[in-house]
Symmetry: C2
Subunit: 345 residues, 2 copies
């Protein structure tokens, strides 16, 4: 179960208007009386609010007895407004481009208008969730006390864009895609898409060491079908493409007023930032966040060691999940920077 926040006549960065935009979300715990315990945890590519639950729960790093955790669903994920659930004229292949900033703007309205929250104790997220986390810290420097992006970056690198482009080229190659006006899902295209993704999702060493056996798969081929194809086969093709577009265009320096200047954008962040790149992440490699942190006033980087590559942030490996949980606890115990404007009473 989840809730939906409706945004009437929501104008996107690209000019199109969703009327309404529907932002699906789920909350965990209760907002305290001083409204100081809110944590925002946006979702990743092709995930939904349930994808984040491995980090939320009694005794976990995000404990609902202590924190009020809001998990907003990424536009395009099939739960929030998406090609698959939006009526004409914005349905299917006519769904408009949505930026990371559009996502953050809608989330900001949910947080402030619906919940009356003026400060977020923490914003965190993995992968596309990390893209949103950085955007939050840039768009609302007076509101984000702490930010913990993991397996992500403040903007999508050109190499990452090439990977995304290869996914798009593969999926749309299926004749059954029919320019996005398919009657049935282009399953062959989605399967090929999953196989392209498979090489990028985990590290070279993960495959060498047959670590997929820990996930219950006895052979490489079983892993490709039972994990990778299964992960995407239930998704809508246009939804996947909409999220890819959001991902590909991500760039905090494109925030209005920053003139495309990445150092200025990062320099404007007031939050205490702890970035967790995964040591062997092939498409959000650690150097992206190491480079970025140099320009963030309170920016630190703590690489996650190991061989799970990008999926380090997925919660599937207990050691990685524990590492991330510990980092969340550490960051929550860190005082927010004095430079952050105090919340208005």
């Amino acid at each position: 179960m989840h809730d939906v926040f409706e945004l009437p006549a929501f104008e996107l960065d690209g000019g199109a208007v969703l009327d309404p935009a529907r932002l699906a979300y789920k909350t965990y715990g209760e907002l305290n009386g001083t409204r100081t315990n809110a944590v925002l945890f946006p979702t990743w590519f092709a995930g939904d609010h349930t994808s984040n639950e491995w980090l939320i729960g009694p005794g976990k790093a995000l404990d609902p007895r202590e924190h009020f955790v809001i998990v907003p669903n990424l536009f395009g994920n099939g739960v929030s407004s998406s090609p698959s659930n939006t009526p004409s004229p914005h349905d299917a292949a006519d769904f408009p481009a949505i930026t990371i900033r559009d996502n953050v703007r809608a989330q900001h309205r949910l947080v402030t208008e619906h919940f009356g929250i003026e400060r977020l104790a923490l914003v965190l997220g993995c992968s596309m969730g990390a893209l949103q986390t950085y955007q939050w810290a840039v768009s609302h420097p007076g509101m984000v006390e702490r930010a913990l992006p993991f397996c992500g970056a403040p903007r999508t690198s050109p190499h990452n864009a090439v990977f995304i482009e290869s996914l798009r080229a593969t999926l749309t190659l299926d004749a059954a895609y029919e320019g996005g006006r398919y009657k049935a899902q282009p399953l062959a295209g989605i399967r090929a898409f999953a196989r392209v993704y498979a090489g990028w999702g985990f590290s070279q060493a993960f495959y060498w060491e047959e670590t997929y056996r820990q996930l219950g798969f006895d052979s490489l081929e079983e892993f490709l079908t039972g994990f990778w194809e299964a992960n995407f086969i239930g998704q809508d093709a246009n939804d996947l493409l909409a999220m890819l577009r959001t991902w590909q265009d991500a760039d905090v320096s494109a925030t209005p007023g920053l003139g495309g200047d990445i150092e200025r954008a990062l320099g404007s962040i007031r939050a205490e930032v702890l970035a967790l790149p995964a040591e062997k992440d092939l498409y959000f490699p650690p150097e992206d966040e190491v480079r970025a942190a140099r320009h963030i006033p309170h920016g630190r980087v703590r690489p996650i060691p190991g061989i799970w590559g990008h999926l380090t942030g997925g919660g599937g490996n207990p050691a990685d999940a524990a590492f991330i949980g510990d980092a969340v606890r550490d960051l929550l115990a860190t005082p927010s920077p004095a430079a952050l404007e105090p919340a208005r009473p």
Copy 2:
């Protein structure tokens, strides 16, 4: 211009017989009177004998005034026997699987039967050329004095196989492929194939730094079309798939008599081996060759620094080409191991 060595009734590892198999090759320089100056330099995926010429020439590391360089074309490359040039019943999609060992066996006959060479001063190759180089050293330990594999490995890793699998899934997804019985090349499939390849061919940093500008491309999209698509668009789809299969199955430990034991296979090498992995190669990562060298009696590894990733070995970057040329000179100046059986007179 090139020559062709015909092998009548050539039986492949898989049991099929090519009658004849045609091994295309080109030579540079002259075999000396003692037949001790022969260098064998097999080709890479989707390349041909001209692909290796950046390292061959007067004043270059392989100098035809000093060395007799033989460049055999990989089966499946459209010049040697391939789906595109073999008559029925082995044409097109019915072309049989060919192993790296099949390639080496045919080359061995060219070298010994046609040229009467009993010792190779050097075998070298990049990528699939490196796979052949390692196989030569394992299959003919008494014949290979020195081996210089670059941007390769002694066997295709499971991760590399996933990358290969994604290329195959993408190319064959094009409806125009028609199970390999196409009338015209499946160009959309080949273009998507090229885009998948693009992310793997160079490192993340290569794209960050827009190093493609050194190759004359002004934008990422121009690079994807003008370099990557252009590289594959002239190729035959079945040829590409045949070479992928050869690549995917490569494994020196599968050499008959070695019982699948990789340490034993590597331990049987008598050649002086200098492996040159590229520091940021994404699909033949340096750890593959570092691990392998531990088991090769005269094995050394000299990583090629820089950001060109797998294409470090392509000869397109002057610094990398110079590094590789220097390594070739160093290795040629190294005495061959005493353990190598002397050539019979």
